[in-house]
Subunit: 107 residues, 2 copies
DNA sequence: CTGTTATATAACCGACTTGCTATATAACCG
DNA sequence: CGGTTATATAGCAAGTCGGTTATATAACAG
């Protein structure tokens, strides 16, 4: 049971999604991530902490810098959970006609 | 540009994910959804409002009842966005050896 | 019409979020 | 050593969230 709360709630913020989109292009340091956003460095640092806590990014130490890159674990967890919804939607769609037909006469 | 904020933040709550999991088994009324959770009916009603606003469920009117079922739209939007991360993770994984090799000699 | 059932809404409260500024830490440059 | 650069942390204010209780609405049962 992984931390879906943390993962989904990390993704709920547009700034954090933008950071991830930026990291999808490749590793970046904190200051590189601060630059494109109109936001202070502490704010970005905290967003990164949230993303790291959710398992969406990892950081290494490189002198003074802390380059970040995407981590695969959280995305896999989310995919797995969403799979449940996807399957349900597919089968419900298949059954939809039958379900509706069975319902109307009963009301 | 759909409402990814609403969708992800709706999924960030464990009660709401549990509701969706229940709806994956099939349509349910509000009271049917209240029952398994140790929570008052107004609380569930608000969760449903959030899920509906995020496009994760739809409701019909059936007399006094408002049966809910899963909606496909938000899941599709999320999938699409996550696809970007998935692709990035795949390609980054492919490049990982090269990236690391190129990095070490430079530090 | 009356009472009950299903659901929604309002008002409130404590906890958390997200931005800010100011400051700490720690590595690097000369 | 001292100054600059990269990042983290602390403390604060405004806003949001997620629960509660109390109440409204609206259909249904008799």
């Amino acid at each position: 049971m992984p931390n879906l709360d943390a993962a989904f709630s990390a993704l709920a913020d547009p700034t954090r999604r933008a950071i991830l989109a930026r990291l999808a292009l490749g590793e970046a340091t904190v200051m590189e991530l601060v630059e494109p956003f109109e936001m202070t460095q502490p704010a970005i640092s905290r967003h990164l902490k949230v993303l790291e806590g959710a398992g969406l990014i990892v950081r290494r130490v490189e002198g003074t810098k802390r380059p970040c890159r995407l981590a695969p674990t959280a995305v896999a967890e989310i995919d797995q959970w969403l799979g449940m919804l996807r399957r349900a939607l597919e089968t419900n769609y298949d059954r939809l006609d039958g379900v509706l037909a069975a319902m109307k006469p009963e009301t």
